[in-house]
Amino acid sequence: MDHQSTRGSDKLKAVCTSVATLTPQQISQVAGGVSLTPIWWIRGTPHPFERLVDPGALTLPVDKLGMPGLR
């Protein structure tokens, strides 16, 4: 596998079955089912402050599609 020309997600799928079964559309469905923090993150500036205020803000119920856990 040519590391420089293959998609990172394809290389990930090759070693992680939980990702291999997902399509981008399914991921969007999951994302659409949760309340994402509407903050646009900033290039070159770490921005932990909002998250530190509410550390649970991005905890996602990603089991909506019955997805398996990490390998």
Binding site: H3, Q4, S5, T6, R7, G8, S9, K11, L12, V15, S18, V19, L22, P24, Q25, I27, S28, V30, A31, G32, L36, T37, P38, I39, W40, W41, I42, R43, G44, T45, P46, H47, P48, F49, E50, R51, L52, V53, P55, L58, L60, V62, G69, L70
Partner: protein, 343 residues
């Protein structure tokens, strides 16, 4: 505008001098660059920014540790009540330098571009990873919170889990995943490597799974917006009807605000479309630049944000996007229209 919650960010690049010349560097920094801003100019601008409501100072570069007055600038921001972050390659820490920074910095972010071989290739240095890693015990001992910034390309998502485990083992508090933008050196050396919507979707998902895996001690931050979130929050990109820019502090209109090493001031990101530039600190204080921009450019900028919002909202299939990159690209196309409006 760009919505950054209650954090209104002033990002400064005091110098483009760097000990490395990284392929993805958006500011085209290198050991040969000597562009540097005087600390008094920066401190004056920070004061003006604070009075306009900016409450976070992010110091980037170049390598900030090569900017000798860094403690002076950070101390000034802290005196004004700002929170402070410094983005570094992590290779130049010394005990003395960290002792100086410890009371002044809320968080140091270290660039980490993948497994050691990838990191070194992108940074053009065979010792970049090894040297950075060797400095981490010193950083931990200093007591300064730190995190890592991983630049996501079209080809490296598979390295993220390794990076997360490394960050966890080293005691980092933050793992920031930021998509590559083809600006600066990246425009020449990494053309076509920006992650597309498919990679963005998997990156977002994988970021959430890694967050579950590592637990709350390490915050995993994926710098991607979701189109449905933008669609459902129109107030995030424009002022509510009936309000005017005159009644708002500048930080509520534009965040981040960016000061480049040559004194240029831009909205949103380094190198943003020049027509939207606020001007240059070498010619006028920040307060004057912002005042002029508010009357001359803000209406166009607001229209730009609305155009981008409409485009995103009109797409039928939801997707993940880099809001800043989309805004920056759209801004480049605004120039003829804006000129026509001003004529």
């Amino acid at each position: 505008m760009a919505y950054t919650g209650s954090a209104h960010v002033l990002q400064i690049h005091p110098t483009r001098l760097c000990n490395l010349r990284c392929q993805h560097c958006y500011s085209s920094s290198s050991p040969q660059e000597r562009t540097m801003l005087d600390a008094s100019v920066l401190c004056s601008a920070i004061s003006d920014a604070a009075s306009e409501g900016f409450n976070v100072l992010g110091v980037s570069g170049g390598e900030p540790l090569l900017y000798k007055p860094l403690p002076e600038v950070l101390a000034h921001a802290r005196q004004l009540g700002m929170r402070t972050t410094v983005t570094s390659n992590g290779m130049l820490f010394t005990e003395r330098r960290l002792r100086e920074l410890q009371p002044l910095v809320h968080l140091i972010a270290i660039s980490l571009d993948g497994i050691p071989a990838s990191h070194n290739r992108i940074r053009g240095s065979e010792r970049a990873f090894e040297t950075m890693q060797a400095h981490l015990p010193m950083l931990r001992a200093s007591g300064i919170d730190f995190g890592f910034i991983f630049t996501l390309t079209q080809h490296n998502l598979d390295e993220l889990e390794w990076v997360a485990q490394f960050a966890l083992q080293e005691g980092a508090k933050l793992l920031q995943i930021h998509p590559l933008e083809e600006v600066g050196y990246a425009a020449q050396q990494l053309r076509g490597k920006t992650p597309d919507a498919t990679e963005g979707a998997y990156a977002w998902y994988w970021g959430q799974k890694i967050q579950e895996q590592v637990g709350p001690g390490l915050t995993v931050q994926v710098d991607l917006a979701f189109s449905d979130t933008i669609k459902n929050h129109p107030m995030l990109q424009a002022l509510p009807p009936g309000t005017t820019s005159d009644t708002r502090r500048f930080a509520e209109l534009v965040s981040p605000l960016v000061i480049e090493a040559d004194g240029a001031v831009s909205p949103i990101q380094y190198g943003f479309a020049p027509w939207f530039s606020m001007g240059n600190l070498q010619r006028a204080p920040l307060s004057a630049l912002l005042s002029q921009w508010r009357t001359q450019r803000w209406p166009h900028f607001q229209r730009l944000c609305q155009q981008v919002h409409t485009k995103i909202a009109d797409t039928t299939e939801p997707y993940f996007l880099n809001w800043y990159d989309v805004l920056g690209r759209e801004a480049l196309g605004v120039l003829p229209v804006a000129r026509a409006v001003n004529a």
